[in-house]
Subunit: 356 residues, 2 copies
Amino acid sequence: MTYKNYCVIMAGGSGQRFWPASRKALPKQLLSIEPNVTLIQATLARVPKNVGPEQTLIVTNASQVEALKLQVDLPDENIIAEPAGRDTAPCIGLAAKIINHRAPDATMAVMAADHVITPTHLFQADLSQAMEFAARKDAIVTLGIQPTEAATGYGYIHLGEEVESSLHRISAFHEKPAKSQAQQYLAAGDYLWNSGIFIWPCQRILAEIDRHIPDLAQGLDLLAPVIDTQEFGEHLEDIFPRLPKISIDVGVLEHAAEIYCVKASFDWDDVGSLAALARHNKQDALQNTVLGEVVVVDAKHCIADNRAEGLLALLGVEDLIVVRTADAVLVAKRGQEEKVKELVQKLEAEAKDSYL
Amino acid sequence: MTYKNYCVIMAGGSGQRFWPASRKALPKQLLSIEPNVTLIQATLARVPKNVGPEQTLIVTNASQVEALKLQVDLPDENIIAEPAGRDTAPCIGLAAKIINHRAPDATMAVMAADHVITPTHLFQADLSQAMEFAARKDAIVTLGIQPTEAATGYGYIHLGEEVESSLHRISAFHEKPAKSQAQQYLAAGDYLWNSGIFIWPCQRILAEIDRHIPDLAQGLDLLAPVIDTQEFGEHLEDIFPRLPKISIDVGVLEHAAEIYCVKASFDWDDVGSLAALARHNKQDALQNTVLGEVVVVDAKHCIADNRAEGLLALLGVEDLIVVRTADAVLVAKRGQEEKVKELVQKLEAEAKDSYL
């Protein structure tokens, strides 16, 4: 028995946390965090070999399509531009509806465009196991990540019984926990991070949406007749912004009867902030991570990203993140990189639109 | 009795200590340290009213003439471009020779182009007293600055008897002292900083050069016949680079029989490093000095100079000096600004000529 497999890459994002390198029209997934490849290019390169470009979709937003197309080589009809951000359930529902139109028996994997995952072959093996299981059992499957710290920024998955090697029934989903709760999860050992990578037959997820988010299902049904026609874009513009804004986790997964989880065997990093540059690039003897033309005198434990024409010089500083682009420079204390969002909001409030 | 007064502004400098704002072709004196005016423009504005543009000379170096002429409005023949830097004695000797050709009875004041002096009227009063005394007594006069700290970066003047109000005979010059020596000078109370502002009749300083630096005098004599002719530039190119490289302090002042000093009544700052930006510009409530388009979130005691197109953002940092220009950015720890020279030397060693 063969299965028709599709991959859907969710590539939205507001481009705040990597400012000034990231912008609304150039979000994180279009930047290089690892050397020589952007996040979305690396994501595409990880798609299993049996899923070709015709079976690979990217859902992005309208302002990012142009920059995206410079980086990826997919059929135009496989790049879907959301007219407005409506969280993950409408995004996934739309992709499922399109795939279901093209291949009614397909199994789809959904993944983010902005994770760093290594090595590729372990990811592909885990994903293949999940897709095969999802198709065979008509099941909803996620990939769960072994926690390395008591992180409060992720949802957690409580594993139930092992159904086959490294594949468990899920006993519960937990939203982002408080620190003390996260510490308990870490100590317990049978909790994994929710990677946001989901695998299911298209018809199964559409049926779940029918059942649990009927407003969304109705909107998608209105779009179904025009998929892959000239009128699709116009209808999408009209209907999509009015779809309910809800995540797939809250809208479907919390209500679904049975969900499975493959314990990931790969390393995973969701590249949450500029600090990721240090994790995925070489460091000098004084723990400086230097990208582009940077002159360093007596600096240590700094991240200096100058992948633009021109020069950046550090003198006697430590624990800084400095990012220089053609039109802007950020100088931030390491450990404060989460506040970059606050800074971008200040730029928005001050209507400095050319920097957003 | 009236005196013909000339002012000579020495505007050389290698443009290192204010990098990246300063460059070889755009040294410190062509930058704004105070708001709205460059150092050389402020220096020209301080020249006493009885010294017109015809009596004001600037001695600079060839690479800086172009940028200089954009900022100042003087007759072309009053902007002298040294073909090579030979320290202050050849610079002053050349200016004296030119002035002596144009007005043999003139008194000249020599001053640097890169000091911040306030208020102007006190400077002008002190300078007028010095010029009048120099002309009347055929004397060498300096302006001495009341020390505010035990600085080791200046020469010191030991005052002798007071000859007239605030005007003393000098009992000795002392080179830049060690810290403990500087502390003794400060405690003693009768030591002033040597400002490098000198006043003398042209013929007196030329006679001193004849006596104490005969090689220099001979070179200047070769130039005398072509002053204010078409051939001057060509002869200068030939002769000037071969003049002895020596300061006026070492070459003349240490040997001259009698030198006087006017105790300055003005505030004086030699703008030695980027830290000067904080002394001459407003600060916000968190002691940040901000020039140009800068967004500040949780930063304190920083100097942020972004007088270029584009944006600079500081986030959670303290005690930094950040200077952004069109093609380069410096991020330095406050207190390490002296090492900017070291950084520029590194750029030179790495042949990054476009940034020098």
